[in-house]
Symmetry: C2
Subunit: 218 residues, 2 copies
DNA sequence: CCTCAAACTGAATGATCCTTCATATCCTGA
DNA sequence: TCAGGATATGAAGGATCATTCAGTTTGAGG
């Protein structure tokens, strides 16, 4: 998350004392809660401050304006998410591609479903800000981690790995998002996730270098 | 698009004279343009009216409030989109599944890329309203059309067709959305679409009833 | 214990913008 | 040609909110 931090969206100051850190956390959590209960349109600075138990002025010590708050919130979230995916990728180093797909989908889905309403709220809040830089940074981290993982696969090699990874990730992330958007009941959502794994595996089998069951040397 | 029309979002009246129809179209087009140029946050009733060449009051003759305008806009859009998909499905009746996938992806992608900025703006504007009913209605139409199509496939049958269709559509729609969200250059986007077709085809091959190259009788 | 910066407060400001309604114009059918 | 409904106007009301800042409280280091 270190790429191109837009100047107008940067926090005003970082907490130096312990209570300031507490305050900041409270503000973030309050933002999420208001987002969940009132929706992005009715999220006002006053409401967030109220819910966080601080005054409006306090918020403005850390963020130059409302958008910066949204931005920082998404940054936090995406940063954590990227971290989880990276870890999952590392854990599957050298494994067969089937297990890799399994891990990728499961990890991402688990992260998104851990707090369903929050995920929903964040998906919706995204329209409030220009978060391209965040998406970009997130994508780069995850792309890199995933590419490294598949390059180490024990049972397959790919002619154009970067295209394969791009497709795989785009479809996994997109499918998850669509499942949320359709408000599918958990049972059906889980079913789709199972099918998604099947789909990704079938794709990789079809895309891998034929006649070569392992990369370089097996 | 006839399912459960929320009362508070219903248009106030329908045009009875020719000029009213013109006005309505102008309002919709203006909404899109403002959405594209100013973003959903800066879309105000005044701005839309101005761009449409009418007065604010006129807008309020057709829509009880701003949200109803958004709602109607999305309704129009999704209605047209569903129509295109339905037609594509009809055209592939009895074809092999490969062609079906090809048609599905191509049609949807073409519809979304016809006016890229508009698609973008609409994706972003969605957060402004509660459009679940619209999504729901859209999904039902497309689900039905797609299911009917695949049920007629000349070279495959599926044990759980509805699950397959749900997965297929969710991933296609989601992938397209993700591609837009990442602002991929056209070249890469097209590449992903080609891979997506491969992915879907591989999935269907893996999911079809084995040893049966055609449904019922071949 | 004292000092100073860090952190916090919240009423006031100013801007934006949705929505209404009294009025004016236009169109159509008789 | 004319009446009455359909359509259009846009200034003004009223509400909401983001943001500021002068002043207060808190905590850490000396």
């Amino acid at each position: 998350m270190t790429l191109s931090p837009p100047p107008h969206l940067t926090p005003r100051k970082k907490p130096r004392q312990a209570r300031a850190t507490v305050t900041l956390d409270a503000i973030f959590e309050a933002t999420i809660q208001v987002l969940v209960s009132d929706g992005p349109r009715r999220l006002t600075t006053t409401r967030v401050a109220e819910r966080a138990g601080v005054s409006v002025g306090t918020m403005y010590q850390y963020f130059p304006h409302k958008q910066a708050l949204f931005y920082a919130l998404n940054e936090r979230y995406l940063d954590a998410l990227a971290g989880e995916v990276e870890e999952a990728c590392r854990a599957q180093h050298g494994a067969p591609i089937g297990r890799m797909v399994e891990a990728l989908v499961t990890t991402y889905w688990a992260a998104k479903t851990e707090r369903v309403e929050v995920t929903h709220a964040l998906y919706r809040s995204v329209a409030e800000i220009d978060n391209e830089p965040l998406i970009e940074a997130f994508a780069q981290r995850v792309d890199a981690a995933t590419t490294a993982m598949f390059a180490s696969a024990s049972d397959a090699a790919f002619a154009d790995l970067s295209a394969v990874v791009l497709t795989l990730l785009t479809s996994i992330f997109g499918t998850v998002r669509s499942v949320f958007e359709r408000h599918l009941p958990i049972a059906e959502a889980d079913a789709v996730m199972r099918q998604l794994k099947l789909m990704c595996t079938a794709y990789l089998e079809a895309a891998k270098v034929q006649g070569k069951d392992a990369p370089v040397a097996a």
